[in-house]
Symmetry: C2
Subunit: 474 residues, 2 copies
């Protein structure tokens, strides 16, 4: 996939097309929210879920400027989070896997770096690890997102003021021959205030010059827990965002990037309920910025985008036709990640039967195995057969008509968990088509100063091109 | 599904939000193109297909104003073409199935009627029958889209100047106790010039005051043939559009609605190749209007939208992961509708085997059953097994694990044809999730005078609300 051809309209000068040439006013406070794996399907299902269950809307869908952005990488029609993160952060297409360098390996400069050079304070927040692709695109320059430890070391080169959310992948550099030890220890040596519990987080103050604030409890792979799984002891993305504002507000303003990084992860796993709550978690963080913007209406810009769609989520399903029951997702109590350990005792018990696991499904998903067959959550014969078959396969006892069937049905995930979540989605009138990303453009939304520059159809690189012109000194 | 809640941002006055209150300038020439079943997935796959196979772009994706529109009906999150057509044509939500009346049955007024009242000429064009839901929404007032004959009679009440494309459903009123005979005969009696062949079409001139121009060759159900199946003897949607301009141009201007109605039909059937060519056919028609707009740059507005997404088309597939091969759709030579009769001789021959039908698949889809297994179009063991199984099922010999499997796999269509087209799509890195519509918002695009009013996120009713203010006298 190469760049979009515009031969037909070459020479057009209608407002909205010619981004690069235009002069724009600098903005003191700039927020960029990125929903990893979040495109219009993820946003619309969440909007409708909130409409049906809480009679309220999704803020990001109500922001006054709305457009969409193409996402393709330099080398693929379907991008990854490194290439798309680099596009959004630096304004250049690159190959999948590359961070902060173009397709030829040339170093790129991110919005965050431009902001820092212009004396703004900079915060990089993510619900996944802080050296994962999307946050790393704002400070790293590496041909491979897999070089986690080297990427983490670039945090210290960045001179940015705040990193917050998950911890670091390969934090001790076990995979790196030149390891210098634990990244958080190094950070402390270099004068960073590092917090790993809630008390430390609560105590953070603007007098802490450089801060790394890590979630007190981990989800999988060093990330924050899923919104659906959080309790009051956790720090939400919204709370991290509020803290970023409190720490970084200063007379020169700030640039704060907040990634809802785990929308993508549960879209890979085709877990619709967790996806909805992750989008709500990101929306709640946007609301914090929105409230801040009310106090600084002439000086604040909020941009919300996604890096790509994940999962091929469809607001419709062949089995439910024209009917939708998105409110049924409310029956789902936990993410697949928290479900798996609860299920493992059945999976690993040779004597366990499918009947034994039914109470767990009733408790966590509201599935009804007895009673009124017209109950929306009643598991019919067809669904029960699918669950029972997947239970066998999950325990290594099942067969497949072909290896391809296994791949297409479960994508390498646990067959039973996948089937439980598939039925949960299907009962809600939703379906998925892939365990990978798709090339659907993402929605891009904006509020505040210069918000109108982010409507219309654009490419993901346009976001960085435009924001770089706004994070400069007045 | 009720209307979108906007409580959070109530009172916002940023440009783009408050549609209704704004003053806009009248426009002399107004084109409204509607892709039935066309949302961003259909547009993006076509853009990428053209990029890969012809190194060109899709005009509708390059128009300077781009936004998206929500589509929900008064009674359902997933709309139908009657409710969405009424929303786009008249500016009000209504129940699925209703045409030109609101959810309480109250009569609505369409953009076309407002244009006619303001002395504009009006043309209603569609690649499906002229009393099908979308075109009918512009002139009919009926609580049910199924009342085809009564709807067709409303053509004569409309006083519109041109109807062109397919013929009429239930044209003789066989299902209507009060039939007045053949609709085209009635039209001739009422002074319409009616053409049903290409010579008649070519001879049409502005001196023909009222015109009904019907496709010389039919696709299924009285529609125009699919673009992929057309030959030089057919009249394309672009040619109908050019004729509409030639016939309707006058000093008071015109309103022309052009529907690409069969995008939807082949999305229902999950036929990706035919879908792409239908979108190209609509794009070609938009190009005719675009060329006209170059000659009348200050007086022309072109709006392009869809009424809903159909099929849950995904630009990605679990079996191909991050890879796309959309150029492979070029191997597909015919629509499912033209494939079915070619296949029927095998389907209905008790002695035929799956091997017998392979040459047809090679000829029409480029499927390779011998030779290099690395050939992109080579049918592997898994795919061959799926085809062979579907061949048996198609001939009434196959079994299913459950009725639900049959529904979810084939949606009531021929099992063999569905499997052929599924493999064609999957080999191209595409997949579908439903045989019905989905609630994905549609892309709305515009070019020319007032085009900027159609960007941003909006509801489908906003299109009519806005256009009604523009088709008035200067």
């Amino acid at each position: 996939m190469k760049k979009m051809l515009c031969s037909v309209l070459a020479g057009l000068s209608v407002a909205g097309v010619a981004w690069a040439a235009e002069d724009v006013a600098p903005v003191k406070y700039v927020f960029l929210f990125i929903g990893d794996g979040m495109s219009m399907p993820q946003r619309m299902v969440t909007q409708e879920y909130l409409n049906l269950t809480e009679k309220r809307g999704l803020l990001i869908n109500e922001l006054p400027s709305q457009g969409f952005s193409t996402t393709f990488a330099a080398d693929q029609f379907i991008t990854d989070s490194a290439a798309s993160g680099t596009a959004i952060a630096c304004g250049s297409k690159t190959n999948c896997g590359a961070l902060g360098v173009d397709a030829n390996g040339n170093r790129l400069e991110s919005i965050a770096t431009v902001a820092k050079k212009n004396d703004k304070k900079v915060g990089i927040l993510s619900s996944v690890t802080l050296n994962h692709a999307t946050p790393a695109a704002f400070y790293s320059h590496n041909v491979s997102r897999s070089n986690l430890y080297d990427i983490a070391l670039e945090v210290f080169d960045s001179n940015f003021d705040l990193f917050a959310g998950g911890t670091f992948g390969d934090i001790n550099g076990k995979n790196n021959p030149n390891t210098k030890g634990n990244i958080l220890d190094l950070a402390r040596e270099k004068g960073y205030t590092v917090t790993t519990d809630k008390a430390g987080f609560d105590a953070l103050a603007p007098s802490d010059k450089k801060v790394i604030a890590v979630t007190p409890r981990f989800g999988e792979a060093g990330s924050m827990p899923y919104s659906i799984d959080m309790n009051d002891a956790d720090i939400t993305l919204a709370q991290f965002t509020q803290k970023a504002i409190d720490l970084l507000d200063n007379e020169n303003g700030f640039f704060i990037m907040v990634e809802g990084g785990k929308i993508d992860w549960m879209c890979h796993a085709n877990d619709a309920g967790t996806t909805v709550h992750e989008v709500i978690g990101l929306d709640d963080a946007v609301r914090v910025a929105y409230n801040f913007a009310q106090q600084h209406p002439d000086d604040t810009l909020i941009v919300v985008t996604g890096d790509h769609e994940t999962g091929g989520l469809t607001l419709g399903f062949s089995g439910t036709g024209y009917q939708s029951f998105i409110e049924r997702l409310k029956n789902q109590k936990i993410s697949m990640i928290e479900f798996l350990p609860l299920y493992s005792k059945f999976k690993n018990d040779a004597k366990a039967t499918f009947d034994d696991v039914k109470p767990l499904l009733t408790e966590q998903f509201g599935f009804k195995f007895d009673g009124d067959a017209k109950d929306p959550m009643f598991i019919n014969e067809y669904e029960a057969k699918k669950l029972s078959e997947a239970f066998s396969r999950s325990r290594g006892n099942g067969t497949y008509s072909a290896n391809e069937d296994k791949l297409i049905l479960y994508g390498g995930y646990d067959p039973f968990a996948m089937t439980v979540y598939e039925i949960m989605a299907n009962k809600s009138g939703l379906a998925w088509n892939t365990f990978a990303h798709t090339a659907l453009p993402v929605a891009t939304s904006a509020y505040g100063k210069n918000a109108e520059k982010f409507g219309n159809m654009s490419d993901n690189t346009d976001i960085a091109k435009r924001l770089k012109t706004m994070v400069v000194k007045p």
